[in-house]
Amino acid sequence: MRVNRRSFIRCASLAAAGNAMGLRPFGALNALAQGATDYKALVCVFLYGGNDANNTLVPYDTAGYGNYATIRGPLAIAQNMLLPLTSAPNFALNPNLPDIQTLFNNKNAAIVTNVGTLVEPTTRAQFLANQSLPSNLFSHPDQQLEWQNAAQSGSTPTGWAGRIADALSTSYNPNGTVPMITSVAGDTLFCNGQSSTPVSVSPGNLGGASCSEGTTECGAQLATAQALLTFDTGLTLVQADDSITSNAYRYAQILTAATKSVAKLQTVFPSNNGLASQLAQIAQIIQVRAALGVNRQIFFAGIGNFDTHSDQLTLQNALLAQISPALAAFYAATQEIGVASNVTTFTMSDFSRTFQPNSNTGTDHAWGSHHIVLGGAVNGGQMYGTFPTLALGGPDDSGSNGRWVPTTGSVQYAATLAQWFGVTTAQLPTIFPNIGSFKTSNLGFV
């Protein structure tokens, strides 16, 4: 770690000094760049708090729905409200996901079922024997981190997107002026690699800092402010903030220049929808990908409040009602830009929630969940993985409250996306160290 920190700081001071050597903290120049010219982007939408998958995708056949309704009781969604899936007739979507239904039925979206954090394929018996389990199951921060770092514990300091950027930045983005990864939802583990750090963007605030002192003085003030970043008294935290701030100045300038004259997309994103604002910002950055010199990009977006321990129906419905039109608008925007088949969007979340309700018409922390993947490259209209047996204390329950033991590892899910993105088979074990423990590294959904 010490070595990492040093190299981080060295890059930071180069950046702060305005060094013209072309070294970037997110990847050095590589004369052997492959010169890829096609464009691909991965867009992660993180559902913070643990989305209840049990009410996202619901059994629709008579027996399946009956079992669901009996156990879910006050949390069961009326069958006639559910949105059926043409090619998966035994299942239906939450009534607040009509756009996902359309995308699925149009084969532009797929659903991966009962996927969750795993060290290796695990059964209920192995769980009960406490055998090779991810650390701190059922804990929000830990499970968020484990989804993001694709590792056994949250303490691994790099995310899987960050490690992809480590591996691919030089070959795919040799002329990139911004990092491979952009976050529109703050800094997260997902985005951080060994040598790469993301650019963070505040949706709708792409430009530089405002200054009211007049053009001449603002320029001079900026120069002095940047000079202050180069004074090093050796304090670690000051160095870290100097680095972030100097990158902030630089990226703001680059992004402002790149987007200054870009045409506004015709696609209308829903208003009063935080996720939609984030995705609209991502769409704009994709629009100017050529100006930024990038052929591969990974984006991180997020939406919170899925921790529905009480009053779940109301809370989750409102959240899914934001996700559905936001994702639809984003897909439409990629069509407008002409990159619908070059952009794959997927969901992640801490965990799913107990199938059994609690006494506050809510649910508690669970494990395996269902996730949505969409984009023109997705082999859509299909469900992937194994749907769990919805029985309390049944073969897929880790205990007795309906916390499903995942039948697909989140690392498999991630590795599938990574391979579409350009990660080679040879690179897989570096980025996903425990992928070899699973039967397949590619689930085939994209």
Binding site: P25, D187, S210, T224, V238, D241, A252, N305, D364
Partner: protein
Amino acid sequence: MRASGFSRACRRTFFPAVAFAVLTEIVGCSSGSNTTSTQNPPPAITVAVTGSSSARLGTTVQFTATVTGSSNTAVTWQVNGVSGGAAATGTISSAGLYTAPAAIPNPNMVTITAVSQASVGATGSLAESILNPVPTASSATVVGSGPSYTVTVTGAGFVSGAQVQVQGTTATTTAVSPTQITATVNLTLGMGTTTVPLTVSNPDPGGTTSAAVNAGVTITATVAAAARLLDQTTFGPTLTDIQHVENVGLAGYLNEQFQMQPTTLALIAATPPTPCATNLIPCLQSEWWQATLTAPDQLRQRVAFALAEMFVVSTNSVNSRAVVAFQNTLVNDAFGNFSTLMNDVTLSPAMGAYLNMLNSNKPGTVNGVVQIANENYARELMQLFSMGLYLLNPDGTPQLDGNNNMIPAYTQDQVQAFARAYTGWTYATATGGSATKFPNGTANYTMPMAAVESAHDTAAKTLLNGAILPAGQTAEQDLAGALQNIFNHPNVGPFVCKQLIQHLVASNPSAAYVSRVSAVFANNGNGVRGDMKAVITGILLDQEARAGDTDVNAPGGHLREPVLWLTDLMRGLGFTNNDVVAGNDVVANASYSTVGNYTSTLSQKPYASGSVFNFFPPEYVIPGTATNAPEFSLENTASAVLRLSLANTVVYSGISGFKVDLSATSTLGTIASNPGNLVDTLGMMFMHGQIPADMRTSIVNHISTLTDMGQRVRVATYLVITSSQYKIEH
């Protein structure tokens, strides 16, 4: 002393005590031609005037006229030819008693003339110098922050242009009245009480120096120590507070603060004021910001703020009435025992609603559906508020098993056991009693939740370390047992103390530091566990917290989170609320309710965290490093730009509804003609007087090019408050 001072001044400046009078011989009374002695004169009448040839302002001089050549020796007295004199030149009585004027005339010489009443042509005159008075100093004070001190001398006889001499240095006079003079001077004073002798000198004409008077100055803390402690214990040091802590010292300041009455928030009225008639959040925000920015019990408010970032509730899903009461709970319990705090937080309607202990029913079958007890509070009380996920050593480091793996502190089964122990609680009745039905549909947001026993799970529960709550206990008994079980867990001290250190002092405390404080948590010296006052004292006076007082490069510190960054700017620069009526009136003080809108652009608004994990998690590690720095979770290339823009707003446009003076005529503006002084003052205000030399030089050089003093103030302030050296409080 006075006599010698007087005589020294006399030697230097006094005219001879008695001068010869000018004699004018007037001969006869005829046509005025010059007379000569060769004529046969009538007896000549001459007038000679004697008396002191100088007079100090506000004093009298007795003149004597000697008339010869006439039996009528009466004279009339004139000053500058005016009988009886005048105010500007001094007056003189018929008996020759001259009273000097109140101010020095120009020129400072007047002519005293005696005119013979026997012959108006016979006069005698004397030139009288009018001199400044002799200053006398009777008492003096020296206050300030090293090296800059303000000296005030009280006495008499001070005139415009008077100066104070301190230890051989002439201080810069800032104000003079006849009885008081104020001046500033740089002094190097050691710790302890120093007796500083001061003298006052009046300028010429007749400049003299007073006898010395002594002022006692007690320096108990250096500027850096005082300002750093205030940075750690308040929402922003002010120059006045820094001086105060220098005098009373660090421990003295903490004791003062411990004894202050808590500043609590008024509960939101049943019929809310207009600004929050339809949305109660502005009422909470208004009261919170007002207390935060202005309450005298800053330490208590600051600790409560830290606790609010550990025991997180959010108006995103909790009624603001409940959050006001919750804030008061934290404020009231901040200096009590941690077990009391745990109990009061647990039973607060705000936490009950936020983490769903409110209305959590015993497990059972409802309408044919089997339900479980809500696990939310049971899990997070342990994970986030008291213990953490892993067994800890007393120094906060994780315990490891034989395979070098960390050891989980509790199991899912234990979470569910605690969840059952916490069942049966709902809103209290309006009078604070237990409701007759469960759940109680009538909210009582301000009183502790009350149990309905029929909703409580009475089965036995196995808790931490194998402790068992026996079957058949009441909800109160189970709750008390469960909280005691957690409170006594060895993790609580290191877990809680490390987070308090992170909020108040440093992101990365050494294991030894955590160990010293958690030992105090375990036993305050009198056998009491969980004494918050002892813990807070231990945190703030620890050698590691104080290392930066003397070593500016001592490792440590933490990033100023957006709220603390803004409050520090507002308190330091002297922002004051500009609403029509002051006081605890949320209508009148509506502008307080919008301050949080400024920080919310930086992802932080008090009591509006997006989740129970606070705005930033305590375990956050800066990407690409191994450095644990919680607040950096909010610091990225996007938020850094937004903070720069907010800094521009603060110095250029201010905060809506607040006034601040950064103009050329402001306190800072008047010293801006000397850029070094301006930057040093900002350095004192914001960086404990520890601004690095290269940074100081850079800012001084930059603002020296600006001719508008107001702009100098704005730009210098902007450069300081956006620098990483400042943003990292260290």
